[in-house]
């Protein structure tokens, strides 16, 4: 057997390498710098890393045309790193999106004013809650600056996840994005028991789901004799005797990915983890994980299993309908803002899955219709901005015990702080899909795409669920604006530093602009083209 020296396309993989290098450098800073002085260098390093990666992504995107037709087919891009990383239009778009969300995440992580000069993360994770050690850590103003390298590692995993060109890379990316998030979930400064519990639930269920993903990968490898998506595609189209092996493999792989996106019936972790994790982490995770995991799901289903479309589509029909119904119905009965947003994110997963069911190739469409890939990419954009903005506002509303997430603390917020309550209402309206917000265009794109593929029963359920979802969004808006504040103390909007308020303003602007003039971003999504195979 002959071994070939691997060749890496450094120019195209630069965004990945920058983020990974920045994360490693962050770990080194932890070792070199004395404890009190770490925060500023770490925040700066994280910001510089992500901005540099964003610039590199833009450069890669502009130069993508040079690789047009390199791999055959319509898509532009190249298969790099000996077939394990695919840099094509959708990859570059998702990279840009993820890095923008990562910037928001870093800004929220770095917020210190809300807690009176310390971050939202525990001073010393090893100190037991309620002990002398914890009090000492908080009086000395200790901080875990490890959260920034952890965030960068998670971003690296997210960037790699939708770009992976074989099942093994996809599995490694899945773990690289998950492991830092498990840790980040358990690091809240307040309500540490809840936070640790969220971390444990997320970890055990996440490890369980990645076990399923891996077994699916093994079965598909057994069927196709290759782990690369191109090889699997060939084997699927050629057909072979062991069809059962392939079906079982697709099912198990789908379980692993659908867990990550939080689709029913694999949504059980979502509300608990979203509620227990520090809100900054929830904001970053809600947007980033969903974008990355949907990118990976699309690539797996379209590129590797495109020839088996009729096998996986019925399964997705059921899961999309279940997610929308379950998310919308359970969100109605919540009385905690973070849990409500979590269940609404389950419903959004269902809406995005409706888009996944749409028409795949642009050739089958009339003008003005969207392929499912375009619809899903646009929906992910609108969803991510609205989620980060909404969770950023959740960090602002506080009472003596920290963030006040119970509904009764939010009653009458619109009278005391009309601006913040108005911004939150706008994000909720966007999630509900009211016209002139980004959410409406996103829903329009995915629904029309599914309609042109003939999936009208799912679209009917989706429209019914959208209407159902409006009830709990509007109920919350009514609670903020038309209810008397509760007697035993309402939440107050605390003044934050520019980091949080800036994030909220950017998300607000993005949600508004995407709703009023969606054209440029839709062009960008359309221009991203197709996956290369």
């Amino acid at each position: 057997m002959e071994f070939v020296k691997p060749e890496l396309e450094y120019a195209e993989l630069l965004p990945l390498l920058i983020v990974f290098g920045g994360a490693c450098l962050g770990v080194a800073l932890e070792a070199i710098l004395p404890r009190g002085t770490r925060r500023l260098p770490q925040v700066g390093l994280a910001l510089v890393t992500v901005v540099a990666a964003l610039v590199a992504t833009v450069v890669v995107g502009v130069n993508l045309d040079e690789h047009a037709g390199a791999a055959g087919g319509e898509g532009r891009g190249l298969v790099g790193a000996m077939g394990s990383i695919v840099v094509d239009g959708p990859t570059v778009y998702l990279w840009g999106l993820l890095l923008v969300f990562a910037l928001g995440g870093i800004a929220l992580f770095g917020e210190q004013r809300l807690e009176g000069g310390v971050s939202a993360f525990t001073g010393q994770a090893a100190a037991l809650p309620g002990t002398e050690g914890e009090r000492e850590a908080s009086t000395r103003g200790l901080e875990h600056t490890e959260v920034y390298p952890l965030l960068l590692f998670a971003v690296f995993g997210m960037l790699l996840f939708p770009a992976s060109g074989d099942l093994l890379t996809m599995f490694v990316a899945l773990e690289v994005l998950s492991l830092p998030l498990y840790l980040l979930c358990g690091l809240a400064r307040r309500r540490r028991l809840l936070s640790q519990e969220a971390a444990m639930k997320y970890f055990l269920l996440g490890a369980f789901a990645s076990g399923f993903f891996l077994y699916g990968a093994a079965l598909v490898y057994g069927y196709a004799g290759s782990v690369s998506f191109a090889g699997i595609n060939e084997a699927v189209r050629a057909g072979s005797a062991n069809h059962g092996l392939l079906l079982a493999g697709i099912g198990l792989l789908a379980v692993g990915l659908l867990f990550k996106v939080g689709a029913a019936p694999f949504q059980a972790w979502t509300p608990d983890v979203y509620q227990g994790a520090p809100t900054a982490v929830t904001a970053f995770m809600a947007a980033g994980t969903k974008v990355a995991a949907f990118g990976a799901l699309l690539r797996l289903l379209y590129v590797a299993f495109g020839g088996e479309r009729w096998s996986w589509q019925p399964m997705l029909w059921v899961i999309a309908i279940a997610s929308m119904l379950l998310g919308a119905i359970l969100a109605i009965v919540q009385n905690d803002v973070k849990r409500m947003l979590a269940y609404s994110s389950v419903a959004h997963t269902g809406f995005i899955l409706v888009g996944v069911l749409g028409v795949q190739s642009a050739g089958e469409l009339a003008d003005g219709q969207y392929t499912s890939l375009e619809g899903v990419l646009f929906y992910l954009t609108t969803y991510g901005f609205a989620m980060i903005g909404a969770f950023a506002i959740v960090t602002l509303v506080r009472d003596a015990g920290g963030e006040a997430t119970a509904y009764d603390r939010w009653a009458g917020l619109g009278r005391t702080s009309p601006l913040v309550a108005g911004a939150f209402a706008f994000f909720l309206l966007s999630m509900a899909g009211i016209p002139l917000t980004a959410g409406f265009i996103g829903k329009w794109a995915v629904f029309t795409s599914a309609l042109s593929a003939g999936a009208w029963p799912v679209v009917l359920v989706a429209i019914a669920c959208s209407i159902l979802a409006i009830t709990f969004y509007v109920r919350h808006i009514r609670l903020m604006f038309f209810t008397e504040p509760s007697q035993d103390g309402a939440g107050v909007v605390t003044r934050s530093s520019l980091l949080t308020s800036g994030t909220i303003v950017v998300c607000l602007a993005a949600t508004l602009v995407l709703g009023v003039v969606p054209g440029p971003v839709l062009d960008l999504v359309t221009g991203a083209g197709d996956f290369i195979r």
Binding site: L179, L204, A207, G211, L214, Y215, S226, D272
Partner: protein, 97 residues
């Protein structure tokens, strides 16, 4: 050939049933590791069948990832245990509907 795949399927099933039924977080975690090792066995067996190295390489990566998962997982379970003096997954039930 088939024997190895059947064995790996049995191991995987034992692991997943263990995750669903056992109450101690450490044991649950061990069952997850059993599932990953069942995957390794399947990878190796298929690599042998197809006569290429992809599956064997995958097994190495899975071992590395499993080791990283142990580090993170035990850290999380340890903090919970030190806080509550129990590693039972039934005791962590503050977050619920």
């Amino acid at each position: 050939m088939t024997e190895y795949i059947v064995l790996s399927a049995i191991l995987f099933t034992i692991g997943s049933i263990g995750v669903l039924t056992r109450r101690n977080a450490i044991v649950v975690f061990m069952c997850v590791e059993l599932m990953l090792n069942a995957c390794n066995l399947a990878f190796i067996a298929f690599a042998r069948q197809h006569g290429n190295l992809d599956g064997q390489i995958a097994a190495f990566f899975v071992m590395v990832v499993a080791a990283a998962e142990v580090v993170v997982g035990l850290a999380i379970i340890m903090t919970i245990f030190r806080t509550r003096r129990s590693a039972s997954v039934d005791d962590v039930s503050l977050l619920k509907f």
